[in-house]
């Protein structure tokens, strides 16, 4: 068994063990059914919910909103990061703001966004976008800072046009850092959108969890919470595997 396989199996064992422990505590009523239902019931409830239109509408709304805010934040974050990387004075002025960006509680602006854009998906896209963009800007700056100067010199010696040099040399050289930005932007978009739906929205997974909570509908609430958790784990896991595959090629022997 390789070291990586052993680490992977340990990770799975920790997750499975935690779920089994919660299942046991719920089944023995050590955790009251009014507080939490067993994970097995969450899965059964989720399975039944897949038979209804409602959950698919929620999934479609949440996922399309996350996708939009993710794409917009990655594009804007990369563009802005590349721009201020090329303008060192502007960057010096903005660096402290970027460093303290996540100390701002953006959700306090959410009511303002609803007042501005109405109760639709736009405030959710904006909150996800605002939440995710800075991570992409910071990762872009990190990535571009770490492109070895010899790589850009090589691109010029090979007589590549500036656009081609960026596409064929700068971007691949900065890829591991940009990838970190993509991972964070996806996570932050997800958090921003679900939390926004939770606060005030007419649909989406966050809204349905909040609705079920207010309705004392533990079956639905926990089933949806488990679904969100599973989606987050699967997305993060897929990106992790992709990232490891990329880094493996580059790791010095």
């Amino acid at each position: 068994m390789t070291r990586n396989t052993a680490i992977g199996l340990t990770r799975i064992a920790v997750i499975a063990g935690s779920i089994a422990l919660v299942e046991l505590l719920c089944q023995r009523k050590i955790i009251s059914p009014l507080v939490m239902i067993p994970p097995s019931e969450m899965m059964t409830s989720l399975w039944h919910m897949f038979g209804s239109h409602k959950i698919w509408d929620d999934i479609a709304q949440t996922f399309s909103t996350v996708a939009l805010s993710f794409v917009l934040s990655v594009a804007a974050g990369f563009g802005f990061g590349a721009l201020i990387h090329a303008l060192p004075r502007v960057r010096r002025a903005l660096d402290p703001l970027l460093a303290s960006y996540y100390s701002i509680p953006f959700f306090v602006f959410y009511p303002l966004l609803i007042a501005l854009f109405g109760l639709n998906t736009i405030p959710l896209i904006v909150i996800g976008f605002v939440f995710a963009t800075a991570a992409m800007v910071i990762s872009t700056l990190n990535g571009l800072d770490r492109v070895p100067r010899v790589m850009t010199k090589t691109a010029r010696i090979l007589r590549l046009s500036p656009a081609r040099a960026v596409w064929s040399v700068t971007l691949p050289a900065a890829a591991p850092y940009l990838f970190t930005g993509l991972k964070l932007a996806l996570a932050y978009s997800f958090i921003g959108v679900i939390a926004g739906e939770f606060i005030l929205s007419g649909g989406g997974l966050g809204f349905s969890i909040a609705y079920a909570y207010n309705d004392f509908d533990s079956q639905t609430m926990y089933a949806l919470m488990m679904f969100v958790l599973l989606i987050a784990v699967v997305m993060n896991g897929a990106l992790h595997v992709w990232e490891q595959h990329m880094l493996k090629k580059r790791a010095r022997a």
Partner: protein, 274 residues
């Protein structure tokens, strides 16, 4: 196929491949730094010319100027009779001291990189890449990524990526600087072999006096900053030569001459008195 370079258009001054006249480089900033010159140099077509000098004397600046990677503050640079104006001319290749292999590409893709970007026919790319891979002894590593190779092998990949483009002037900025002495001697032999086969003009920047003495037809000795040539020594070695030349008494004489010229300049560079 072989690696012989395509002949450049013949001019009245065909023997002179590259020419620098009154070249000066000053880096402007809060503290203006006069890095180089004024400096004159004629590189003959097909010669092996090395540049030695103390640290910070402007050797790399000289290479950047000749490659068109930066522009001189004063003076003119011509390559094959045409002025070099801060843009890399066709026919110049360069290998740097730092590892410049692309870690996201295999050895084969690294070597083919420049040809693909230049839009060369795929069959021609394959032919040229195969030849260079064989020439540089990389046959067993074509599918490997640079991370799986030693420092010396990665530098071979960079040299191969340059060679496959068949440059007429090859600039080498301390390409073996990070390698151990034995590997450097062997890489020196490889370099002489490819120089003979390609017929290219080579300008080698190096810190190592023995390397310069062993490889070169002529060695330019630079002063401490601002770098100027204080002397140019002709070694007189035959074209067919290799690292065995280090046992020749004449090799010791050339190296000693280089050091006698460089000693006081090196002391100046580190701020000591000779």
């Amino acid at each position: 196929m072989n690696l012989a370079v395509a002949q450049a258009p013949q001019t009245a001054q065909a023997a002179v491949h590259a020419r620098l006249r009154g070249v000066t480089r000053v880096f402007e900033g809060k503290l203006s730094v006069h890095a180089l010159g004024p400096l004159d140099l004629d590189l003959a077509r097909g010669e092996f010319f090395s540049v030695v000098g103390p640290s910070g004397c402007g050797k790399t600046t000289l290479m950047d100027l000749l490659a068109g990677l930066s522009e001189p503050t004063e003076g003119t640079i011509t390559f094959e009779g045409k002025p070099v104006h801060g843009e890399v001319p066709d026919g110049i290749g360069a290998v740097f001291q730092e590892d410049a292999s692309f870690p996201w590409l295999t050895v084969r893709d690294n070597i083919a990189f420049g040809l693909r970007r230049a839009g060369v026919d795929p069959a021609e790319i394959q032919r040229r890449v195969d030849y260079v891979i064989g020439f540089m002894g990389l046959k067993d590593f074509t599918a490997a990524y640079p991370a799986q190779l030693s420092g010396g092998m990665r530098q071979r990949v960079c040299i191969a990526r340059t060679l496959v483009l068949q440059p007429r002037l090859i600039l080498l900025d301390e390409p073996f600087g990070a390698l151990d002495q034995q590997t450097r001697l062997l890489m020196g032999d490889e370099l002489l072999r490819l120089w003979r086969e390609t017929g290219a003009t080579i300008l080698l920047i190096t810190h190592a006096l023995d390397e310069a003495a062993m490889l070169s037809d002529r060695v330019g000795v630079m002063s401490a900053r601002p770098g100027r040539f204080i002397d140019v020594i002709t070694t007189g070695w035959p074209r067919e030569r290799d690292s065995a030349i280090v046992a020749d008494p004449a090799f010791g004489a050339v190296t000693a001459r280089l050091w006698s010229l460089l000693r006081s300049e090196s002391l100046k560079a580190i701020g000591a008195k000779g």
